[in-house]
Symmetry: C2
Subunit: 361 residues, 2 copies
């Protein structure tokens, strides 16, 4: 086939102009005599790429100067393990609000290092809602409060940023970073694997209040120390430079398209189109998440009859709509509609869903 509309949850679809530029520069970057993936990370070409990427990301996300930006390898899961090592004392309390699979993962990674307290947990309700702030049991002396801003599998998203007083709020924004304007000052730190809404797989971003970096944390290897990483400008060791470059191209594309305000509008329209088809299907399609916290990025849905799952996926693929199979933890379908998914892709999926229902309902 040619390029399909790819609804993969991550690694996810990239803007075609980004892929075309990467393709054009694969044999030689500019006039450098080599590809960016072959050039030293200490050389002038990559240093320029790295610096421009940070500048563009700061512009895109309106990152205040008193927040540091650290580019990391190892994915968001590694950041989840390093949060307590860097920002908590051994055995100190840290509060986790668990609203889906990824909140649970964050908790699991932290457990060896802190007294991890589940301040609120949506599991009993199948993660279909977000426990109200008033019901959270926070520890008064917690190192931080951790939330998962958008749950990629369960499709629930914080629509308001909770207040946590003097205790810094830390947010996993892996699947919703840059999807709408965000007041970063409300957080001690936010982080994201890039492979959903910032571009390529293989690199992650930590945006952290410089005050938090003054905490001593716990004994750890230098490579696990965010103070050292910042001092070395995220190049304490060889960084994933090609992935960094791709992130830079994607961020630049987002700026060129109009920035997060524009994407917030597009994303609201895209999500509305899909939820509308689901809600008006008379039960043929089903999304069980409480309407107020439905994710704008990941739309999980189920067909009324599981026997239709296979034909749905097969016919969708034939129509150029791929990667719609739901996560194995939930089954059913999932449409991930990050910034790089065009509105035309979502409309094509909506049309297909209506047509499929007409033929099978």
């Amino acid at each position: 086939m040619s390029r399909a509309f790819n609804f993969s949850a991550g690694p996810a679809t990239l803007p075609e102009p980004v892929l075309r530029q990467a393709q054009a520069e694969m044999l030689e970057f500019g006039n450098a005599g080599a590809s960016i993936v072959e050039l030293s990370h200490r050389g002038p070409e990559f240093i320029a790429v790295a610096q421009q990427t940070e500048a563009d990301l700061r512009k895109l996300l309106s990152i205040p100067d008193d927040y540091a930006v650290i580019f990391t390898s190892g994915g968001a899961t590694t950041i989840q393990a390093l949060l307590p090592l860097n920002f908590a004392e051994a055995g100190q309390a840290a509060d986790y609000v668990v609203t889906g699979h990824w909140g649970k993962t964050a908790l699991k990674q932290a457990k060896p290092y802190v007294a991890a307290n589940v301040a609120a947990n949506g599991e009993a309700g199948g993660y279909r809602s977000i426990p109200a702030r008033g019901e959270w049991h926070l520890s008064p002396d917690a190192a931080y409060v951790h939330i998962t801003a958008n749950e990629t599998i369960h499709g629930v998203e914080f629509r308001d940023i909770p207040e946590t007083g003097k205790v810094p709020l830390v947010g996993d924004f892996s699947s919703s970073i840059a999807s709408e304007p965000l007041d970063i000052r409300k957080f001690g730190a936010i982080y994201a694997g890039a492979q959903k809404n910032l571009g390529p797989v293989g690199i992650s971003v930590l945006i952290v209040d410089r005050e938090l970096l003054e905490r001593a944390g716990q004994p750890r290897a230098d490579i696990f120390d965010y103070r050292s990483q910042l001092k070395a400008e995220s190049m304490l060791n060889t960084p994933p430079s090609w992935n960094w470059y791709m992130l830079g191209l994607t961020v630049k594309w987002m700026l060129d398209e109009g920035g997060v305000a524009e994407f917030a509008a597009r994303n609201a329209r895209k999500a509305a189109v899909l939820y509308d088809v689901i809600d008006k299907s008379g039960g043929f399609y089903r999304n069980e998440v409480e309407a107020a916290v439905r994710s704008r990025m990941n739309v999980p849905f189920f067909l009324f009859d599981e026997a239709l799952d296979k034909p749905f996926l097969k016919e969708a693929a034939a129509a150029g709509l791929i990667s719609l199979k739901g996560h194995r933890a939930l089954g059913g379908m999932r449409a991930s509609i990050y910034n790089a998914m065009p509105e035309a892709g979502v409309q094509a999926l909506a049309d297909f869903m209506k047509d499929f229902q007409a033929r099978n309902g």
Copy 2:
């Protein structure tokens, strides 16, 4: 310019056929409707890539079945921090043989977790030789003995594998893996960042005796546990899939070219050409490493007059020979001549060096 001969120490030159294939597949991988960098790591396309890559790597390096292969992100430095966490008890002795900058880094990462003992150290001699095995002060109950098989900056390389009795030997092969046949059974584990001799930046490989994986190690996050990584087939979280794919293409290219025996022959010839020019230059060029342990991969050298460094680099670049500047720790020049550097590139450099001497000697 067009593509130059690129002597970068890492990220380093890639085989042109690998880059061309990556370029051709950048918009669509096979018939998948999307690039491999956009496809789920759980999907059939990437699973096939991952499995083929491991099979090819096992073939290339003759990895015995009782050794596990784990693909990691975070670079060799992260592996250096995780070695003691996985394979030593807290406070247990671990022996480090330091023969250059990277041995020192390995030691630094391990120090928070083990009683790191410097069993031998080449620093006093400027890392120009490797302390003889008979002079090493090994701990009888060490968790492991760590060596750096090839020092990328200082250009010294173990030409024989030292005996360490019942204590497992662990080798950092970042800059010499796959450069010649190696008896992996002599090691408890070897590891390498891929960006020198295995292909792309952003992924590393740990090859480890499954017996070592039975050690309890120290309390650590699940993402830092190599048993968990192995169980999850190196996909405990989203792996750097594009980098993995590029590693696979590079390994396949090495197999197609004749495997490690063929590269060992080419690498011996390439190194001989350069050391010959240096040694016959009457002091115009200088390499101070003891002949018996000179690296076949990284050839550091100095011009007799530092004032000639800038003209040398400028004229070399104009002749299509790039990235020859030495590491800032040593100064001078360095030619990294990994598997992907063709013999023609080394010959061109040798010819340039002789010509430059004729004009400036």
